[in-house]
């Protein structure tokens, strides 16, 4: 039996494995195949049902499931203890988690407990055969630069950006063991409640068309106009950080390094300069359109089509023409 090369932490959210779990398994499978080793995954949740079997179908060889009512909500200390124990028992060469609400909190805890190097928000993972280490690439300086890291200690840990890795097709013919695990943790953090702040309409992360506004939109009314356009195109409205901080739009709609990561078919950026930390949030978009007053704005360096001018004058005509064409 070969050893565990890669251990992932799957996320079980709202009754199903979250897509990041499959993306992590897809990345893990490639790395483990190169190492000639196995993939294990840890699933923590309440009433997770067949999630272990699903993880096997998506590329895991073994699934370790901590299923308990007390894990219905994310409990940092309990989750960290479970993952730490699994890491010690399975001794994987590599541990992967998602750069998600859970992963970005959980991974550093585990890394410090194991006193090992963690690279966060990685967009590419490769085995360097000479170094015999995993090279982890991540954006730094708000996306102005890229950096390649290795961890000099084991396990080598990374959190992986949402939608940066490809999931495998589900293959129900794959087989593997699903085992239950338990762990006791000293929990000081008391979960009180979760407040959902969902915006009506299509979820930003799932939208094929994203209309994104920046500081130059100037008001809540301006964003109402963007919503109208989004509705016409069956899309969702996003924003850079300033409009969220100014309360023109809910902060759940922020796109960027510290907000949502989107990869729509069409992204239209309006009245935003194109700060690197924002661009990092939609780098997977297939078609990028920009409207901005300043023809020198950085957004035009990444856009495919652009119009330089005042969006207040451009947008009504654009919307009228779209209406006519669709």
């Amino acid at each position: 039996m070969s050893e565990i090369g890669v251990m992932t932490v799957s996320e079980y959210v709202d009754g199903a494995l979250d897509p990041i779990s499959m993306e992590l398994l897809g990345a893990a499978r490639k790395l483990a195949d190169e190492l000639g080793q196995k993939v294990a995954t840890v699933i923590i949740g309440s009433g997770v049902g067949d999630a272990g079997k699903d993880a096997i179908a998506y590329g895991a060889d073994e699934a370790y499931v901590a299923d308990d009512g007390k894990y219905a909500n994310y409990q940092a200390e309990a989750y960290a203890t479970i993952v730490e124990q699994a890491a010690k028992e399975l001794a994987p060469a590599i541990i992967l988690m998602g750069q998600t609400s859970i992963g970005r909190d959980l991974a550093p805890r585990v890394a410090f407990k194991l006193q090992t190097g963690l690279s966060t928000d990685c967009i590419s993972l490769k085995i360097d055969t000479d170094l015999k280490r995993m090279v982890m690439s991540r954006a730094v300086y708000g996306g102005n630069a890229m950096a390649d890291y290795v961890s000099e200690t084991d396990p080598q840990m990374a959190t992986v950006r949402i939608k940066s890795q490809e999931a495998m097709e589900k293959d129900d013919a794959r087989t593997g063991d699903v085992k239950a695990i338990v762990a006791d943790a000293d929990m000081k953090i008391a979960f009180i409640e979760k407040v959902k702040e969902e915006v009506a309409g299509i979820k930003l992360e799932d939208a094929e068309v994203v209309i994104c506004g920046g500081r130059g939109i100037g008001s809540e009314e301006g964003f109402a106009q963007l919503s109208e356009l989004a509705k016409m195109l069956n899309g969702a409205v996003g924003a850079t950080r300033p409009p969220c901080d100014n309360g023109w739009i809910a902060s759940t709609q922020q796109i960027g390094l510290t907000g949502k990561i989107v990869s729509p078919t069409l992204y239209i950026g309006i009245a935003l300069s194109g700060a690197s930390q924002h661009i990092a949030g939609f780098s997977g978009a297939k078609n990028i359109v920009a409207i901005n007053k300043d023809p020198e704005a950085n957004i035009f360096n990444v856009a495919h089509y652009g119009v330089a001018g005042d969006y207040k004058k451009i947008l009504p005509a654009f919307m009228a023409k779209v209406k006519e064409l669709l």
Binding site: Y149, N298, Y305
Partner: protein
């Protein structure tokens, strides 16, 4: 109530991307002429979170800044905003660290500054965007940590935190002492007042070295780092934007729609 805020001095992240340069030989970010040094924005929000608590109850806010080439006016900004004391950790032995070695050094420094009930950090520094140091300090000190807060309130020996998650926020409560990291959803940090700036100018920061804080230099800076930077580079951008030009903005708008239809994007 003793609050400690960790604040980092960084190159202004709002500077235009074109001003950003890399020193390839040294594998480091090259100093950009004309780009200011600032307190990392999330750390300013950490100062704001501390001052909000100080607005409502008796509290002392100590700021700990670790780094080299620190600019006095920059690192004193938290004092000008209303913080009480400033500690600067300056030592070559702290240079080029990773999250593990930096968290070790900061935890050692925090212990040296005195009693602490609440430690507040930014969710991540806006230069390397790592986001591990706050959690690391908590692990080093053996106290709980709550990350990515948008609201931090202290009452009855506990801190109540609203922490931002993808689809809203979670409310959690944790006994003190604890570490909390804060996010931009906390709101704009307050401005320094003229009175604050004048008071800050008179205050002398407490400068400390690795020896002063009793840090084991095999665990600080590059020596204590577990992550190794292999290569730093600027990503190549395609830069092939087709600009739609017309007599007036309205016409350009209509032409853009027409163009997107032609290329079947719409």
């Amino acid at each position: 109530m003793n609050i400690v805020v960790c604040a980092k001095q960084i190159q202004d992240p709002e500077a235009p991307p074109s001003s950003f340069k890399i020193d390839k030989a040294a594998n480091k970010v090259a100093p950009a002429p004309g780009v200011n040094q600032v307190i990392s924005p999330f750390d300013e929000q950490a100062v704001e979170a501390a001052l909000k608590i100080k607005d409502t109850q008796e509290a002392t806010v100590r700021v700990v800044t670790m780094g080299t080439d620190l600019v006095s006016d920059v690192v004193k900004k938290p004092l000008a905003m209303g913080a009480d004391e400033l500690y600067l950790i300056q030592d070559e032995a702290m240079e080029d660290g990773d999250s593990i070695s930096n968290a070790y050094a900061l935890a050692a420094a925090i212990k040296k500054t005195g009693e602490y009930d609440l430690i507040i950090c930014g969710r991540q520094a806006a230069d390397w965007d790592v986001g591990q140091t706050g959690v690391g300090i908590a692990e080093e000190l053996g106290i709980p940590c709550v990350t990515v807060a948008k609201k931090v309130e202290v009452a009855d020996g506990k801190v109540r935190v609203e922490r931002v998650v993808a689809d809203g926020y979670e409310v959690v409560e944790v006994p003190l002492p604890a570490v909390v990291t804060v996010s931009n959803e906390l709101g704009e940090p307050r401005y320094a007042t003229l009175k604050g700036i004048m008071a800050a100018a008179k205050k002398q920061p407490n400068v400390m070295t690795a020896a002063d804080i009793g840090a084991d230099t095999s665990r600080t800076g590059k020596a204590g780092a577990k992550s190794k930077l292999l290569k730093l580079y600027i990503p190549v951008r395609e830069g092939k934007c087709e600009m739609i030009e017309a007599e007036d903005p309205a016409e350009a708008g209509a032409m853009l729609a027409q163009k997107l239809r032609e290329v079947k994007v719409l």
